[in-house]
């Protein structure tokens, strides 16, 4: 994986009338991981979307080197299609990735329509989509929601593997998660 970088300077984010956070800066290089902690509604998802370039910050700038993969509460898989077809669309866009469906516990579910999958299974399917994208910067928004303990261990292993291969992972989660390096910031320190 080529070298990647994610830096943010002096970010502030406003949603509606509310200033969520300000003065937030971070720098991640190849192989680094960072957990963003904070209570519900403090702005973790907004931060992720700003870092992904989907939302414009009130002030500050974000620099990205490398492709961005986003995992949030929406799996972006067509609910009416069997899982295999829904993932197939992303495979055609991203090229044949090396997502190990068996490793994700999905190999028996390819014929099942996405809307019949449980919350945790949808999360695993979204992980398969993320792995297939082979992006170097992972932005994970509450990746542990709905996952059982084995699922949690799986996410931790995938993130560790991703960072070992030179990727960046930024994980927004209010739950404890073991990340390589164990770095974390708390958004509460940046609230206005």
């Amino acid at each position: 994986m080529q070298a990647c970088r994610l830096t943010a300077n002096n970010l502030a984010c406003q949603r509606g009338e509310r200033l969520l956070f300000r003065g937030l800066g971070l720098e991640l290089r190849s192989g680094q991981a960072l957990q963003v902690k904070g209570a519900n509604g403090i702005g973790k998802s907004s931060l992720i979307r700003i870092l992904a370039g989907l939302l414009r910050p009130l002030v500050g700038e974000v620099e990205r080197e490398g492709s961005v993969g986003l995992l949030d509460e929406r799996p972006a898989l067509d609910p009416g299609l069997p899982l295999g077809h829904a993932l197939g669309f992303w495979q055609r866009l991203d090229g044949p990735g090396d997502a190990e469906l068996a490793q994700l516990g999905l190999s028996g579910l390819l014929e099942v329509p996405v809307r019949y999958l449980s919350t945790g299974q949808k999360k695993r399917a979204a992980l398969a989509r993320l792995l297939g994208q082979e992006a170097s910067i992972w932005l994970l928004d509450e990746p542990l929601n709905g996952l059982d303990t084995r699922g949690v261990a799986l996410v931790e292993a995938l993130v560790a593997q991703h960072c070992a291969q030179g990727g960046i992972a930024l994980v927004a989660s209010h739950q404890p998660i073991a990340l390589p390096g164990g770095a974390a910031i708390d958004l509460a320190d940046f609230t206005a």
Binding site: L55, D72, A76, L81, L93, D94
Partner: protein, 218 residues
Amino acid sequence: MRHFLILLRRDLGLLLGGERRGATLLPVLFFLAVAMLYPFAVGPDGPVLARTGGGVLWIAALLAAILPLDRLVEPDLELGLFDQLALRGISEELAMTARMLAHWLSFAPALLLAAFPASALVGIDAATLQTVELGLLAGTPGLAALGVLVAALTAGLRGGAALGGLLVIPLAVPLLVFGAGSLSTGGEAGIALTAAFSLVLVAITPFAAGAAIRSGRG
């Protein structure tokens, strides 16, 4: 181009075949149902039917094109599809162009075919049918563009689907005026103007709809 074809294939699959979201037959059946009901309502008066039948087919086509409006953009917005596409460098404009073409393919060819039995139901002659067919051929791309544009603008709003249907109707009036107007003048001029209005809509829709989706990210 490769991205465009992949998107088009997906959109077509969902609009045509998707079990819950897709019901291609619905607009066509709706169109035929209007054509079938019209003589019942007006009575079996041959000359009246023949004079007004073409216009009724136009109204039926317009309303049939509105039917799939709520599943054109909204479901994919909820899925986060456009965010994922944006991260891959695929613009909303490209996605909307594919959507527009897929929408047109999903209802217009079937509608053009259905116009043949419908013309028999409302009792219009072959020459009028030809004008209707040419007019619909010129006008349906505009209707498809309008549908995508309004669907993108109203996606995410509460009651967006109903609002979208209402919004399309006044915007489609020029298409109807020129398209159905070509029937009374028998003319190419009306069809040409319909085609021109369609072209304008097809040209602006990808940009306007793309901008609507981007600004919806807030």
